[in-house]
Symmetry: C2
Amino acid sequence: MRVSVLFSGGKDSSIAAILLERFFEVELVTCSFSVLPVGDVARETAKRLGFPHRVVRLDMQALEQAYELLIQDGFPKRAIDHIHLTAIKTLASDKDVVFIADGIRRDDRVPVPEMSQIRSIEDRYGVSYMSPLKGFGRVAVNELVRQHLVIEEGQSENVIKADYETELRELIRTRAGAQRISELFPSHIQSRVIERKKVSGKELQTICTHD
Amino acid sequence: MRVSVLFSGGKDSSIAAILLERFFEVELVTCSFSVLPVGDVARETAKRLGFPHRVVRLDMQALEQAYELLIQDGFPKRAIDHIHLTAIKTLASDKDVVFIADGIRRDDRVPVPEMSQIRSIEDRYGVSYMSPLKGFGRVAVNELVRQHLVIEEGQSENVIKADYETELRELIRTRAGAQRISELFPSHIQSRVIERKKVSGKELQTICTHD
């Protein structure tokens, strides 16, 4: 069974993929409106993690709608939720995709899809959506990251990422100026994955023990 | 790092443990009020899964409180939630316990702990609580079960389990008669774990590939 993991190049979607690799054949999928070459950034990270990767182009209309929501609200929650749901729907409509996953954690405030919308997509397209980190708090996710990844952290403006925010920020920059970005987006710590740690002998032994 | 997984002998807590074994040293913990020998039932299953197991005795007062809630409400949600939270608190107050997990899934209606209560327990006791299946829907959990477990399913009254319901039902039986049980508890399909499937060569290879 294959799972398509929505991949931003950040630690959360990386750990989600690592958590699932034992149960599914993982492919990383980066969604992009082709406003910036975010797919290329993500591809580099995917290579370091050792997973196959592809870029899926999203309909530009969804970015325009997200832009409208962001301007209306003055903060990005609904805009990011809209792009995220568009990404899930776009993947779900691919007839070769059955399992879709993302890196959403228990304590994330955005994106957080409505369960009613998710169930509707699952029923309509015959797919199954997973957020493997949804039951993990900050300390637990940090522990998984510590075991498996070498990361670099920084303010969101200094780390190039392939998340939903990146292209939306770029659209704001071209239409309303760089100043407007910092008014609309809270500054937060972003992570970039430098490399994946080798699987330890102990870890392999744990799984092999039952064999 | 060790994780204590609340264990009922059912497929959900079994799969939660299997999901976590790659990242943590797993111990299975069955909570019991010693009304029935549920710890012994769970120990047998734990042995088949290949995990260490212990029984933790819960304060009988919590079962009395759950009984009151059940009689007041006429359905078991608040009662089961109360026992579940008591189990988490009891484990959290053990100074050797840092990570606590359970088998709650995305679509479960009970038990579902309030996040505010969970965060309060995490802060107060310095523990981290995880529900590794919280981001998995029915189809996805079934896929994990298919890969790893041989299970038997049946109506809840016919399968002996070590879940929170079992001892509460027994208390109802002794105080109000067997008839009252079926009025208070909806009949639902329960699962029992027969054995664990061997880890496949392909699965090991997937994880080893990066090494």
